[in-house]
């Protein structure tokens, strides 16, 4: 062994550890590379081309698709619809989730049952959930049938511009509110009880306690859920495809649905890719802005 010890073996402990380490992260790395980074690069590459699958054409056009983006008469309407959808969804989802979480945070009998009930839509298949709602929302469907019993003539939910948007927002909120609720619930239960006791001793009202203790203490969770919800709201597709197909008119044609129409229905894959770059930029800017806000608003103990 003495002769060997002079020549350092190739497989040192460090190298073996490094190989093992890379081997462990390899599946994730390969996945990210193959399904995220490479497609991202390709989408940018496609966006510089005029690519019509049906006409079998793939030509480099430089920034023509980006020029088109600036001149597209439909785009302002589409972005407005996206903004309305996201704003409605985030406000409704977050406030409902927080309200439910606070209600379920009470120490009462049977709370576990309610938690399960409110969470269950999260695990239901999205399309199945939406199809059931599409039946309920039909003009002669379940919701208007119920309203009829109490003497109200309900609107034709999915066919009128205002109510169609409200319908897709509410269907989406009910689907996912349980997830944010659970996150809020966990955060609420992490708030030290002695803070409330101290506040009570000082004579703080329930609202004051909520405003001055609960909200600051759970603000990291509020930030997290708002990022997830906003990003998720910009990616909404299935509900629109099943419930309204972007209609009536173009009132519920959100960015992702418009992208789908351009690429898969009208066969303009190049322009569709350009739209997805736009979506990527919007999500990136919004997320960046939220991280900046974090420094000012969010409370961290350490």
């Amino acid at each position: 062994m003495a002769t060997q010890s002079r020549k350092r073996p190739f497989w040192t402990i460090e190298r073996r550890d490094a190989v093992a380490g890379y081997a462990f992260i390899a599946p994730q790395l390969v996945g990210t590379l193959v399904f995220v980074l490479i497609p991202l690069g390709l989408v940018f590459w496609y966006s510089l081309h005029e690519w019509n699958v049906l006409a079998n054409s793939f030509n480099f056009v430089g920034d023509a698709n980006y020029q088109l983006l600036l001149r597209d008469p439909s785009l302002p309407k589409v972005l407005t619809a996206s903004a309305i959808f996201s704003a409605g969804l985030v406000v409704l989802n977050m406030s409902l989730a927080l309200l439910l979480a606070i209600l379920l945070d009470q120490k009462l009998r049977g709370m576990v049952v309610f938690r399960t009930l409110f969470f269950s839509p999260v695990v239901v298949s999205l399309v199945a959930w939406t199809i059931v709602w599409s039946f309920l929302l039909q003009n002669n469907g379940g919701i208007n049938g119920f309203l009829q019993i109490v003497g109200i003539t309900g609107p034709n939910w999915l066919r009128e511009p205002g109510t169609a948007m409200v319908s897709v927002v509410v269907v989406q909120v009910f689907k996912n509110v349980g997830l944010n609720m659970i996150l809020f619930l966990a955060a609420l239960q992490g708030v030290p009880k002695e803070l409330y006791e101290a506040a009570r001793v000082d004579g703080a009202s329930a609202w004051k306690q909520f405003r001055r203790i609960t909200v600051p203490m759970i603000s990291p969770t509020i930030l997290l859920t708002s990022i997830i919800t906003i990003v998720g709201s910009l990616q909404v597709f299935a509900q629109i495809a099943v419930l309204t197909q972007g209609g009536p008119g173009v009132s519920t044609t959100v960015l992702v649905y418009y992208l789908y129409q351009q690429a898969f229905q009208f066969h303009y894959f190049g322009y569709g890719s350009t739209l997805s770059i736009l979506l990527f930029l919007i999500v990136a800017v919004l997320t960046f802005a939220q991280w900046q806000l974090r420094k000012r608003i969010v409370f961290y103990e350490n």
Binding site: L54, Q138, F264
Partner: protein
């Protein structure tokens, strides 16, 4: 390092196995699996297709064909997505509305040579009219296996129960017009059932309304496809009539309402005769099939076409074209024509059709099928149809409210699609 022998042996094994796996495709080269996308998941249709595929196996024992039903309303989208993903089928049904796009795309395999060479094919037997849409510079790129006239299926039980006049009675009296058809539908609707359904329209597939507004002599665009004609007086009048039928007389199901004629919910439905296979076998009702009612512009007929094309990119395009030749030869065309009327002259007689259409009476065949195919106009399509379709759909949404301004809506549709028609 003994630790790494498993790794080394794995590499060694892989280097041995991989070339073997590649050559695996060579082993299976003889077996050909053809895939054909269709938009019917109807069991009777599928059974017939499978029977034809089995027949082809007699002469080509190595070839099997699988039929892949795709949903009707997203059919073309799904198909083009498959093409975009490099997973094009070998053969596909194609709608008449996207015919221009597909034929001009260069994605389809030229068929003329293979079909004329097929044994006993007799190309001269096929009526040239229906082939026009599917040809470019004298070469056929998809074979219109179904030239299917639109007719009106009638549920006499529902109509009699409501005390209204049946279409058969009106035809007898020479009063089978849209006005009277809607009158019957309105009476039925008052009785709690649904009046008249334009099948698959559902306030999205507006091109199916061609079956109504053609009765006013209205078309969506000019013959050359360059100019929008939604603003024409005929179209405005026809759309006003449809609007009135829906919102004032409640003779047609409103937006967001569903009803199924073939489940016995409605008095009448406008659809193609291939839907006869949906007629209930148990608890059957007293049904009838009549031609489209006459409009202010007189009698008319509409046909929907479906063709089968072979994708040039398929490694088995030649065999696929041969299969298409077998599928649409005189013998199999006769079988297919029980659901999908053939454009073969030899099959366009009440006698020939009667053999394969036990469901339909000779009068129904003569009045709806033969008359329809010989006099009917094909539902108009256009280059870039999907985008035009979508824009008209979005524009028409503002027509489907009770207090719509019909001329204004028609103007807005033309404003939005005229630039696309020019292209």
């Amino acid at each position: 390092m003994p630790k790494f022998t498993p790794l080394k042996s794995t590499v060694a094994m892989a280097s041995l196995m991989l070339p073997l796996a590649w050559s695996g495709t060579a082993w299976a080269q003889d077996a050909v699996n053809l895939r054909m996308t269709i938009w019917s998941a109807n069991e009777a249709h599928l059974a017939l297709f499978n029977e034809i595929a089995e027949g082809f196996k007699q002469s080509h024992p190595n070839v099997s064909v699988t039929f892949e039903p795709l949903p009707f309303d997203s059919y073309t989208t799904t198909l083009t997505t498959q093409i975009a993903g490099g997973n094009a089928p070998d053969l596909a049904w194609i709608f008449e509305t996207s015919a221009v796009d597909f034929v001009n795309s260069g994605a389809l395999f030229p068929l003329t040579e293979t079909l004329t060479a097929a044994e006993g094919y007799d190309m001269a037997d096929v009526t040239p009219g229906p082939l026009e849409l599917w040809s470019k510079d004298g070469t056929l790129f998809a074979y219109p296996f179904s030239t299917s006239p639109f007719g009106v299926f009638v549920n006499n039980d529902v109509i009699t129960a409501a005390g209204a006049q049946t279409p058969a009675e009106m035809i007898e009296a020479g009063t089978w017009t849209w006005d009277n058809a809607i009158a019957t539908a309105a009476t039925v609707a008052e009785s709690g059932k649904t009046g008249l359904i334009v099948r698959d329209f559902e306030y999205k597939t507006w091109q199916n309304l061609n079956t109504i507004y053609a009765g006013w002599g209205a078309t969506p665009w000019t013959e050359d496809g360059k100019t929008c004609t939604f603003t024409s007086p005929e179209m405005v009048e026809a759309m006003s009539f449809i609007h009135d039928a829906i919102f004032t007389r409640k003779a047609m199901p409103g937006p967001g309402e569903t009803a199924d004629f073939f489940a016995g919910d409605a008095a009448m439905t406008v659809t193609q005769i291939s839907r006869a296979s949906l007629l209930p076998k148990e608890n059957a009702f007293d049904w009838d099939l009549v031609p489209l009612p006459a409009g202010p512009a007189g009698e008319y007929a509409m046909i929907g076409q479906a063709a089968i094309g072979v994708f040039a990119a398929s490694p088995n395009a030649e065999v696929a074209a041969e299969f298409l030749g077998y599928m649409t030869n005189p013998e199999n065309s006769a079988k297919l024509s029980q659901f999908f009327p053939s454009a073969r002259q030899s099959l366009l007689t009440a006698e020939a059709l009667g053999k394969t259409n036990p469901l339909l009476s000779p009068e129904q065949l003569e009045n709806v099928v033969i008359k329809g195919i010989t006099t009917g106009k094909v539902i108009p399509g256009h280059t870039g149809f999907a985008q035009i379709q979508q824009n008209v759909r979005a524009g028409l949404d503002s027509l489907w409210v009770a207090d719509a301004d019909v001329p204004a809506v028609m103007q807005s549709i033309c404003d939005s699609i005229n630039p696309m028609l020019m292209r």
